[in-house]
């Protein structure tokens, strides 16, 4: 089937089998491997991306269902080389260890902050409750989101940020 959709602001078209899951379309057909694929059972949430502006588990959506719709992946957080405050928050607060859960965490965090710019800890924990992290114990993820909430207007370039972390 022929599909056309907008992914991170760019129109993409492809021929896909109707049974193809959106997570595999994004990773294997578009090469956007930032979105991870974990449990296959709709549980882990690492495959979360935005469909029409809302976080969804892309392992539980057919690619053909996204035909004509708008997708935003973790690659779409960085704009013109400038990191999203959420991405920077994860660096500042050590919000990841292996990084497997990170794309889903960041996409839900960005959505949360767009709707609730100053969430308390309980709200953050509820918002990320659809994602499993096996490394961090969640503490630093909550801190990372809080960091982003405190620094909404300070996007940095990826280079600046990595220099800062190294320093």
């Amino acid at each position: 089937m022929h599909v056309t959709m907008t992914v991170n602001g760019n129109e993409v078209t492809a021929d896909v089998e109707p049974r193809l899951l959106l997570v595999h379309f994004v990773r294997d057909h578009l090469g956007l491997t930032g979105t991870h694929w974990g449990c296959d059972t709709s549980q882990c949430g690492t495959c979360v991306l935005w469909l029409d502006g809302r976080p969804v588990k892309s392992c539980t959506v057919l690619a053909v269902m996204a035909d004509g719709h708008e997708v935003r992946t973790v690659e779409g957080l960085e704009v013109d080389g400038r990191l999203d405050p959420v991405q920077q928050g994860f660096m500042e607060e050590h919000g990841l260890q292996c990084g497997f859960c990170t794309p889903g965490m960041m996409m839900t965090a960005r959505w949360l902050l767009d709707h609730q710019p100053d969430p308390d800890e309980a709200t953050i924990r509820e918002a990320i409750s659809g994602q499993l992290c096996r490394c961090t114990g969640y503490e630093n993820i909550v801190r990372a989101v809080r960091w982003a909430a405190r620094h909404p207007g300070e996007p940095t370039t990826a280079q600046d940020a990595s220099q800062e972390v190294q320093a």
């Binding site: 089937m1 089998e17 109707p18 049974r19 899951l21 296959d40 059972t41 709709s42 549980q43 949430g45 979360v48 809302r54 976080p55 969804v56 588990k57 539980t60 959506v61 057919l62 053909v64 269902m65 035909d67 889903g104 839900t108 509820e126 918002a127 409750s129 659809g130």
Partner: protein
Amino acid sequence: MQTPAPVDYARATSVEHALELLERLGPESRLIAGGHSLLPMMRIRLAQPECVIDINDLTDLDYVKVEGGELCIGAMTRHAGVLDSPVVGEHYTIFHDAERLIADPPVRNRGTVGGSFCQADPAEDLAAVGSALKASVVLRSSQGTRTVPAREFHAGPYETVLGDAEMLTELRVPIRPGATSAYTKVKRKSGDWATAAAGAYVVLRDGVVADVGIGLTALGAPHFCAEEAEAYLVGKEPTEEHLAETGRLAAQACNPRADQRGPVEYKLHLAGELTQRVLRQSVARAEGRA
């Protein structure tokens, strides 16, 4: 890697179109709403429809409104839409209590009210809410429209009275002035399906229960309800003693199965206990204490 078996895909542009597709493509075709029950089943090949008919474009079925003394929720309303609706909360807090405990936020962004009812999972939370509220569902086919009480809609685990070329379009709940309601659930972890859950509404008049509804899920209660327990409580004051007896009768209506979520005795204990808790909370809400 889990992948659905090969399947055809069609996209409906209206309710009429969806019904026409269902008729044309036959019983091996399935509607797909949020897909959060159907796709997991297709991935493990428990379901292998020949064609899925996507109804996500039917945004005219995504609404909450009050009409003719009833709270009406369109079939394509997402869990998140129910949770965010002040109109729902104004009439029946039970929906908000339940929605907060259903799955997790990304799943709630996708799963729909219609899909939840039609999936008929024995642990579906909205099925218990619908039964507690003595709601009804509106079913449409090319032959016409019929309204079925929620307590008659589910025919058993994963079975409903829905015909092959029929579609659920709306959930309707009578608005009962002064009614208060609540829902609670025991689960193993955040986002999990219920080990056991209960919901209720009460209408109090002069300190006496004038009307009550009780719904239970994951407990094997036929039609997700406990009618004897309801009948017992009507006309009585909601004292601890009466609530305890109501809980005991509600547990009697249940027939849970032992599984990795717990043994039968534990679940029966929860049936009684959770019934009491939601009744107690509904009463507290009626008295402005919660």
